[in-house]
Every structure is written in C-alpha cells, then in structure tokens.
Subunit: 442 residues, 2 copies
C-alpha cells in the first residue's frame, strides 16, 4: 500500500510538469474503509493529504506543494454495477474514464462526458474538478449527470449519498459540495452516473471560415438547424490547427483558414440526422460563411477529424513550455482576448498564442508557448487575462478548476461574502486543513 522509492517522483509532478512537490509517501488504498482509516489517522495527527486520481489536472490540484502524503485512488477501479434498463453506472472513483466508456458501450450506452485525457483521468477526479469536455453542450455538467456519490471527509466520516435514483429531494443536496471542490472537502470514493443511450447515428463536419464573426453566425445557424441532435460545437484557430497537424504529422483535410469549427450530431435516425446536417451545410455554404468543409459519417473518418481537435494540447507542448488558461467569456468578446494578448506579449520571447475550445459553452482555452518557462510571460498573461475576464463578466476557470494555480486570484473574482462562506464550509468539513492544503481557498 505504500511506495517509498523513485516511483514516488511521478506522483509529485503534475501533467504539465509545472508544479512539483516533495512527498515521500504515496498511499494506494483499495476501499472506502481504507480511506476512512487513513484520513482519521491523518486528521488526528494533523498530517496533510493530497488526493490524486489520474493526475491529469491542469492547475496543480493533484500534486503536493511540500511533503503532503499522496493518496492515490488508482487501485480503486472496480465497476460495482451497471443497470441496463436505467443506464446508471455505479463504480469506485479510481476507474479510468475510457474504461468506463468501453464498459457502458457494451450495453448500448455512453458516458455523459468525453475528455482529451480520457485514457488516464479517473472519474473521481472528473467529479472533484467538475470536468467539462466536448459533450457538455448536450448532456450538461456533472452536477446533472452524477446521481450520487460517496465521499470521506477529513475525520474519516463516510458521507453516503450514493443513490441510483434520478430524484432524491431529501435534505441538503450534499453531493454537489464534493463536485468541483477539488478534494478540499472530502475524497470521493464511489459514484453513480446517469449514462445516456449511445446514438445510432453520429456525423461530424469540419468547416473552415475566414473570421470569428462567421464562427458565431455558424453557431447560431447550427442551433436552429440541428436542434436536439447537436452533440458538439468546437472551434480551433489556425495556430491551434497547425500545432495539431505538426503533432499528428498529418494535414488537415480542408483548405487552410483562419478559423475552424467541428460540428457533431448524435441521434437515433441516420436519415433524419443527415437531412438536418445537410440543411445546415447548405445554409452556411450559401451564406458564404465557410471557405471549405468536409463531412464524416463513418467512425474512422470521424475519429481522424476529432484527433485534430484532441491533439492541440500535445502539439503545443512540443514548443517547450505551454502556458494554459481556461476561461469563460461572453461570445461578444470571446476571441478578442487572443488578439489583445498578442499585442501585450509582443516584447517577450513567446512562440505562439492561440485559442480553441467549447465556444457554444462560452469556454475558451487560451494558450501561449515559449521554449522554456519564463515568468515574465505568465506574469503578463495573468495580469491582462484575468482583468479582461472579470470586466467581461466571465469566469477565470471554466472547467479546469482552481488548484494551486489560480488560488491567489480567487479574491479578485469572488466577493468577501462568497469567500467567507467557502472558508466556513471548509472549516466544518476539514477543520485542521489536512485535505489538499494550499489549494482552492485563498
């Protein structure tokens, strides 16, 4: 159950290799009872604990700052039950998202979320960070899809909210406290998730357009034309696309353009869906909103096109260091920040500025690369970006969370009353601050 050698190093460093702790102890419990005993022990002795799932987070939330004990859920990977009638999956929190997807797809269902990191991330970490991803536009956030969960608070108490009913309106809706609190209020041990039926028809269109205004016009037309079958609407700028092409050693199959959108439909009737999508493509084409486009209706081409979107992150990392930001913005000022930042950074040794993400959800992934980490670059970005986001009424973290990365900016965007309530909640659920210390709460 413990490791005390070189292996420990991998648990100390985050996925982006930006944050590094010095823990000498990794515990890998297999059951809720183990976690309860560990936390009780640590709480009594005031030993700090960092919960870690797949360690794919992007804000330094799952690695220690100092010598905190790492509590990894990676051995808690049991699927407890899948109900084929209701589509409810119940499992331990350390299950890898992709494994869960494979499991439920055997029964004709799909997971309600899909992330680039699906091969490594754990469902418990997804829930603890309220991960978003490309299917949120269709299936909503994990606050809706998570029917129940079990979590252990700092003193070892097991909070059993693991219902598999779709509706339970009895007392406070405690599960939501654990969703998105990044392991600072408790460690999620089991979850039950409502899985949607897998679609029998999936189509994906990749379109290129010459300016961002046209992206927004396509979005409006997409909502009207595709209605209930729209399952993803993603955008990439040209810089993002070039990074992905470089990483994949593969050219984008359509003519170069300043902006690209990926539009996915998922439905229950192929003819209907293709008719709806055909109508959309005709509309965007006849309105002169696109410069080129391609349509994929078979799984292998769909998967190839999706790779162009999914490989941006890895492509960016090839430059050396990637400064990753994840914000919500109103669509009226959504892409302006990219142009603005290019201007602000122009004296500094950066390599690329790019934007991509879940435009239909108002969620921009803003990225800058440089050869090595340079504090002047991150300093300039953070000074400008967060000010811009706050003044536009956006959010400084759309789906990645706060972790240690954005903790100091909490006071800029949340009122004293809101922060005080957060601190009070922390104080009753983790009075000695042993759970994921130095994260989230400023």
């Amino acid at each position: 159950m413990l490791l005390q050698n070189e292996d420990v190093i991998n648990y100390n460093v985050d996925w982006l290799r930006r944050f590094r702790g010095n823990s000498r102890l990794v515990l890998r419990p297999k059951t809720t009872e183990h976690i309860s005993k560990i936390l009780k022990y640590c709480n009594e002795r005031r030993l700090a604990v960092v919960p870690q799932g797949g360690n794919t987070g992007l804000v330094g939330g799952s690695v220690p700052l100092f010598d905190e004990i790492i509590l990894s859920t990676q051995l808690m990977n049991e699927i407890i039950n899948f109900d084929c009638n209701s589509g409810v999956l119940t499992c331990q929190s350390g299950c890898v998202l992709e494994n869960l997807s494979a499991n439920v797809s055997e029964h004709g269902y799909m997971m309600p979320l899909d992330l680039g990191s699906k091969g490594s991330c754990n469902i418990g970490g997804n829930i603890s960070t309220n991960a978003g991803g490309i299917r949120l536009i269709r299936f909503g956030s994990l606050h809706g899809s998570t029917l129940g969960l079990e979590a252990v608070t700092a003193d070892g108490s097991v909070i059993d909210c693991l219902t598999s009913m779709r509706k339970d309106n009895v007392g406070y809706h405690l599960k939501h406290l654990f969703i998105g609190s990044e392991g600072t209020l408790g460690i999620v041990t089991k979850v039950s998730i409502l899985c949607p039926k897998a679609p029998s028809s999936v189509n994906l269109a990749l379109l290129g357009c010459s300016n961002f205004d046209d992206v927004l016009k396509i979005l409006a037309l997409t909502k009207s034309n595709l209605g209930e079958i729209l399952s993803a609407f993603e955008f990439l700028d040209a810089v993002s696309m070039r990074c992905s092409e470089r990483y994949l050693s593969q050219k984008c199959p359509i003519q170069s353009a300043p902006f690209y959108v990926l539009i996915e439909t998922s439905g229950s009737n192929d003819d209907h869906d293709q008719e709806k999508l055909g109508g959309l493509l005709e509309a965007v084409s006849s309105s002169g909103l696109i410069v080129d486009g391609t349509l994929a209706t078979d799984l292998s081409k769909i998967s190839t096109l999706w790779k162009l979107r999914e490989s941006i992150t890895l492509g960016l990392l090839e430059d050396g260091f990637c400064y990753k930001y994840d914000v919500s913005l109103p669509l009226s000022s959504f892409y302006d920040i990219v142009t603005l930042m290019e201007d602000k950074l122009k004296e500094l040794p950066y390599l690329k500025v790019c934007g991509y993400g879940h435009v239909a959800d108002g969620n921009l992934h803003f990225n800058v690369t440089s050869r090595i980490y340079d504090e002047r670059i991150s300093g300039t970005i953070e000074k400008e970006l967060y000010k811009f986001v706050a003044s536009a009424g956006g959010s400084i973290s759309a789906e990645h969370g706060v972790g240690q990365f954005k903790r100091d900016h909490m006071t800029d965007v949340k009122s004293p009353e809101v922060l005080s309530l957060m601190r009070n909640i922390k104080s009753i659920m983790d009075p000695h601050c042993i759970l994921n210390p130095y994260k989230v709460i400023p």
Copy 2:
C-alpha cells in the same frame, strides 16, 4: 410592506390546507437589500422567518408552525434580462413560472421546467425545493438549468453567485447548497436560468394499456424509438384518470384501461418527429401493448390531453382530503406499492388509492383520499410506504422536498454522518436557526 389583518391568514395556510401557522406579520420586500436588512434585524433579535414564494408546496415548507414572520417574495417579480443569443434568463426570485414561460417564449425559448402549479409558483420556490415536473426527463434538474443565483443568508450576507456563464469552476459550487434546501440556508433573491430553444414540433400520444408491465415495456420501446426527441413520459392509473375526468367534466378520449401513458415529443422537424413517433406507435400496437390510443399534433388537442394529467390533483381534492406522497422507486417495484397499500388500508375509511407520475424518472405520486382528515389513514400510509421505499433503495421525497411533513422521517433514510454534515452546514449559515425553523433538519 407589512400586513396585519385578515389577509395574513392566507399566508398562514398551505395549499393543501393541511398545515396552519399563526403568524401575525407578513413582509413583502421588493429588493435584495430589503431582504438583507430584514434578515440582519431578525438574526440579531432571534426572530424566526419563513420564506414564502407562491405557497404551492406540498410538504408544509412555506407556512409557519407558530408565529414566525412570513417573508413573501411575491413583489420581487422583475425580469432583469433575457439574452436572446444564449437563452439565459435573469430575474428576481418572486417571478411566477408561467409569466417567465410567456416571456421567454416570445423570444423562441422555453423554461426548462413545467409544473401543474405554474400559474402560481415562483421560480425562487422552484429552485429552493428543486422542483421537478414533466420536463425533467429531457432537460434535467434545476441543478443543471440554474446557471447562477443570489441568496441572502441568515445574518444578511448577500451571496452573489449570479453568473450567466454556462461554466464557472472557481471555488465551491455554492449555488447548489441553496437548490433544494427549502429556504433553511438562505433566501434566494435572484436567479439565472438556461432556457432551451422552444421546439418547432410537438406531438403527444395518449395510450391505454392493460397492466403496469406493459407500461414499462412501452417505456423501453419509447426510449429506443424516440431517442433525443422524447420530452415527457407520464403514467396515470385508472383511478387517477377518473378523478381528472370528474374534475374536468370531460371524458378521456380513448377506451377505458387500467393504465394510461402520455408520451410527448419535442423537436425541430415535424416530419422527422412524426416518423419517429409513428414508428413507436406501430411497435407498441403490433406488440399488443396497448388497448387504445390517440395522437395529438395540434396545440389545442395537446393542451386538452395534458389537462387530463394536470387535473388529477384538483380532482382528488374533490373527495375532501387528499394524502399526497411523492417517492422515488426502482421501476421493478414501482407500482407494487399501490396494490400493497390498498390491502393495508382496507379496514380504514379511505375513498381512493391511486398512483401517477413521472415513471421514466422513477418518480411516483402516491395518493389516498378520504372525506375528512383521519390520522389512522396517514399513520398507516407512512408506516408502510416509507419502509417499502427504504427497503427498495428509493427516496421518500422525489421532488416535493421535506418541509415539516417529512422531517421526522429524515433519520430513517439518511445516515448519522449525512445528518451531522447537514446540521453543521446549517450551523454556519444560520447559527440561530431563524430561517424556516422546524423544517427539513430533524
């Protein structure tokens, strides 16, 4: 802003006329600032306050037990903004649901929830009780649709979580604490709600079937055939239908049957939807699952059919007194409880036992009527029903909440650890227990 005469009586009695308080003071503030000042004053002087919206709740949550001050939000009925691009509605909490529906429908949108009480209930009350209703199957619960809210806690602190962004992953997701906590943690003053686009095609089928197993078979076929356009799947038993017919003085348009289902589709293409629905009707018909059926495609017939479902509650009340219960149950034992209860009640002077509700969400509305209220009847029901629900892994309140009605049963269904966490949260947000005392928390 205050009343001190006979008017006060109406605020003291709940909609079912089961619970009655003795408050002599009703405050009707118009702004968040008013509520903040009132609560600060009351908190300092330890004066108890009952928040009240449309007073349409069914568990005695919105009326006082003793002489608590009633704080009605009915004058806080301002629509602050509707964003036609994003579909985000921002308004004060005292807006009546039906008025909001009318407002957003002018812009081609709809509210994500629809309730029988829509003509009176307030959106703040809907959120505070996490109201469900017939559209939950399609649009999910208010935990998903509510993008943000503003609430005032006991000491008058204004908790501003009123984002209109779809994603905000910064710190604890506090809004969820107010959703479903029935005014015991704070008073919701403003909300922002994500409204779905109004469908351009709506169809409704009413089917009669001879046993409950066939209802479940129809549900399974409906999910496969209708896929993404299914917007409601309700069931009524024959007793419920008779009550509704009596209240409406109108006969159900199809042949009598022991069970009925209402299946609604909402989509963006009439031809596609009718083809899908046609496929379903052919499937249920050729499988011998229905005894009769009718299809409505125009709004006036759709509305007439929906009235058969919506009028059950009023029809039941014509008997004298109605014992209303709202539970979640696994589908395998969903309707068994109705037959079981008929047996348990047979020596008592009850008039009717019936079941109806949101079967696709596992939500049964179980009702019994008698001429006048008789404690032996409610005693028998509660003894048997809650035991049955607990042993089946259901919930003793699916969508109505706890209020004062089910408070004493909380300890039967929630673990000591869960109850302790609820009490701790209450203690930091309302340390002197001035907010809706004697409700929810046992």
